[in-house]
Symmetry: C2
Subunit: 312 residues, 2 copies
């Protein structure tokens, strides 16, 4: 009788769920619509049905529990979703209790970016370390911090809001009320917006800007240099603060690594003496994450194993 766990990555539009073995092997996978238009009950129904389906397909095996990665702020101990900008139906919802009542089994919630960081630690680029920071570059910038193998939550579940740290005193205005947030200078959205500043074309996506840069467009290349510089300043701060051995980046803009990484590393070199001091002893690693869009799924599935103390 093999032990397995179920991980769910709940997004604003779609969800994915997977049965994963204790060794990290992907046993089964389902995806579907979150049904967020139907409100709280419809969302819970979608997830519960998927979990039950995955569970029932594995009769004979033992379910360790279900981990659910949610895009929002979560009070972990209470299982309470404080707020979820992409799934407002879940605001102030005691989601863990609701899921557990329906499933009659252990459910653990986690913020989606934190789950992604945990997934990379368990089965991805961070397998060989206990401490890492993950930055996910997308519409915004999310983050997760793993310290001593565990997610750093903060006292109200709001730790690792890494996209909303100031990298430029008077930088671009941010919806959060600040100006100069990292995500306004280094996310996929920021790449597209900078291209608009340079009038490189209408409605360009960050991928379009990447293609332009690869075709030799100097403006598009400069966009990635600015993006790399902002990212480098942010990373330099984390390296000074944590002195962790590993910092991971994920998301669409990673395809443009060769375009932004030189500026990023120049900025880190200049702004972090920890980075320079460690180089001759054991270099600080800044690398691409490995699991892509599956990181949150693996992290969510790892949560029940970790809670049992049978994970690693």
């Amino acid at each position: 009788m093999a032990l397995f766990s179920i991980g769910v990555d709940l997004g604003g539009t779609n969800f994915r769920a997977a049965a994963i073995g204790q060794d990290g092997s992907l046993l089964d996978k389902i995806s579907g619509s979150t049904n967020s238009a139907g409100g709280r009950d419809a969302i819970v129904d979608s997830i519960v049905n998927a979990v039950v389906t995955l569970r029932d397909r594995r009769t004979g095996d033992q379910l360790a529990g279900t981990g659910i990665a949610v895009p929002g702020f979560i009070l972990i101990e209470e299982g309470l979703v404080l707020g979820s900008p992409n799934l407002p139906a879940l605001d102030n919802f005691r989601a863990r209790d609701a899921f557990e009542e329906r499933l009659k089994a252990t459910v653990i919630l986690e913020n989606d970016a934190n789950a992604a960081a945990l997934g990379e630690k368990w089965m991805g680029a961070g397998r060989d370390v206990n401490d890492l920071v993950l930055l996910t570059l997308g519409t915004g910038i999310g983050g997760g911090i793993i310290s001593d193998g565990k997610v750093v939550h903060g006292y109200l579940g709001m730790a690792a809001e890494l996209g909303h740290m100031t990298v430029d005193l008077n930088g671009n205005p941010c919806g959060c009320g600040n100006s100069g947030c990292l995500e306004k200078h280094a996310s996929a959205t920021a790449i597209a917006t900078m291209a608009r500043h340079l009038s490189l074309g209408d409605n360009l996506s960050s991928e379009d800007v990447y293609k332009l840069a690869m075709q030799g467009n100097a403006g598009a290349q400069r966009v990635f240099e600015c993006m790399g510089q902002a990212l480098g300043l942010g990373l330099a701060t984390y390296i000074q603060v944590f002195n962790f051995p590993l910092y991971l980046l994920s998301g669409g803009p990673l395809a443009a690594w060769d375009l932004f990484a030189p500026a990023m590393f120049r900025e880190i070199e200049r702004r972090s003496f920890n980075y320079r001091a460690c180089r001759n002893i054991k270099p600080t690693r800044i690398e691409k994450a490995l699991l892509g869009g599956d990181a949150g799924l693996f992290g969510a599935a790892y949560l029940p194993f970790q809670a049992m103390g049978s994970g690693a």
Copy 2:
């Protein structure tokens, strides 16, 4: 037979050592010259003599161990001082083994700012929390991070270099190679240097600037406003990163709290949505540290208790 521990705070010029009980009571105290001019052996002699004196005065009681706070980078597990700008004689010195050989007893080393943060957690302003950040404002800015009751070291003992994070892209040049480091905008030295920028007087100390500001000097008041703003940006970043319940400040400039705190809080409000979001649930606290210059001594003394698992 009471259990006690000995804490040592080793400075560039002087040291202090104390016998402290398991309940945090200060039992005995010695101070003296570090004898750094005499090199490594003279420094070790000074400390060993003080520890032996404190120990021998408590016959009948049981020594849990000795903790030594050292100003520098330390590989904790190896007990190796990698580098100490204020005590260069200790560079690349396996200090723990040297002390243990002389004392025939357990010795634990810790970075001085980390020890101060641990001291505040044990017996100071952080007694009621398990997670805090301490910033010590002096010639530079040092820092310590306590997570889950323990010092965050990083993989090479360089974590919490909080004074060397960028708060202004093109700010004041720093000896570390960066420009715009927090300590170049918010330390006691920075306060004095800003006063020089405004030609407020020759050879002013940060205390002189404070006195001028209290006498109504508008330039001196503006210095503290700039200092508070820089400090606020740094704290906003830590609050976004950690979401810890408590951030502590210590050092001489704390006397000027009323002059810099308004600008500091304005900046935190603006730049940290975590700070704003937590206010209605359980406010993030930013407060003065309580133990002053004794924080490192208490933190050092706590190390042996913590190692025994008999601390808190």
